[in-house]
């Protein structure tokens, strides 16, 4: 299975995503510069966290217009996997691959901590190694993670079971319905504010993010008979 981790000017969790894929799965993973227009050789694209273009104007806005995002749209339309983490989630909403927006945290401060998430949907390629309702510990680190969408969109997300993760206990940013991560209707594009790539070793304080990578690999393997 081949992974691509996109790199925009200002990305800073790209290396962490690469390390996580290598450490958890040992599968090949490339860093792909934002000017690339062909992603056809990859099975899963990770849009990593960080501050693409400084998060200036709106987080994710400038990056969403880069050449590589055209290829990400094609990749997603072909039913292949895309995960946006933190800034990557913001980029995916700005691109329109996922509905809604991520606004300033309601307390207006950046917040870094290990947060507790509830896995709401285990029928996705990203989460089938978790139990439904399982509470996992995954770090957050963001200033603009306050998910918002209008009521119609929220109703739709619920009806289609697109809410994948919610915050358990305290909501760290004011997001609507405690949303921490959502997927698209087809279930092959996931966006989440928390950082699973930061939770892959006990030494880092949690290894609960590992199951995301193993889920992806297993789903892909089942599909491709590997």
């Amino acid at each position: 299975m081949r992974f691509a981790v996109l790199v925009f000017p200002g990305s800073n969790c790209d290396i962490d995503a690469v390390k996580a894929v290598e450490d958890v799965l040992g599968e090949p993973v490339d860093s792909v510069w934002h000017t690339e227009t062909d992603l056809s050789q990859y099975d899963c694209v990770i849009v990593p966290g960080g501050f693409s273009y400084g998060d200036y104007l709106r987080s994710g806005a400038v990056a969403s217009l880069s050449p590589v995002m055209g290829a990400v749209k094609e990749h997603a339309a072909a039913g292949k996997l895309v995960i946006g983490i933190c800034n990557g989630f913001q980029i995916l909403t700005e691109t329109g691959l996922l509905p809604g927006v991520l606004r300033h945290n309601d307390h207006l401060q950046f917040r870094c901590e290990i947060s507790e998430l509830r896995v709401e949907n285990t029928d996705t390629a990203f989460t089938n190694d978790y139990e439904k309702g399982q509470v996992i510990r995954i770090p957050i680190a963001h200033g603009e993670g306050n998910y918002f969408a209008d009521q119609a969109t929220i109703d739709q997300l619920k009806a289609n079971n697109q809410i994948v993760f919610t915050y358990h206990g305290t909501n760290p940013n004011g997001s609507i319905e405690n949303i921490a991560g959502i997927c698209n209707e087809q279930g092959n594009v996931l966006g989440m504010m928390p950082h699973p790539e930061r939770a892959v070793h006990e030494l880092l304080g949690s290894a609960d993010g590992k199951a995301m990578f193993t889920s992806i690999f297993r789903t892909w393997g089942e599909k491709h008979g590997a």
Binding site: L65, R103, N146
Partner: protein, 82 residues
């Protein structure tokens, strides 16, 4: 040269947590008369053109594509000669 003076503000129905926080701080500083604060962006884009009509089209495009997120924001602009 022209300057597009662009106002990007939240759509009416969208809550403005930043505005709410500032309203509260103003109240607690003793400005009890403050009822509500809404926060938006103001941009000045300098454009090398003389054709007002083209400028209008182009700025509209820039707003739609990048300068505003039309899911929650609306924009407005005027063009002035510089």
């Amino acid at each position: 040269m022209m300057i597009a003076k662009i106002h990007v503000t939240l759509k009416g129905s969208v809550l403005d947590p930043q505005g709410t926080t500032i309203t509260k701080s103003l109240n607690s500083l003793g400005y009890d008369e403050v009822r509500d604060v809404r926060i938006g962006k103001y941009m000045e884009v300098k454009i090398d053109t003389t054709d007002r009509k083209i400028a209008e089209e182009r700025v509209t495009e820039m707003c739609e594509k990048l300068l505003a997120n039309t899911v929650i924001e609306k924009y407005e602009f005027e063009l002035v000669e510089a």
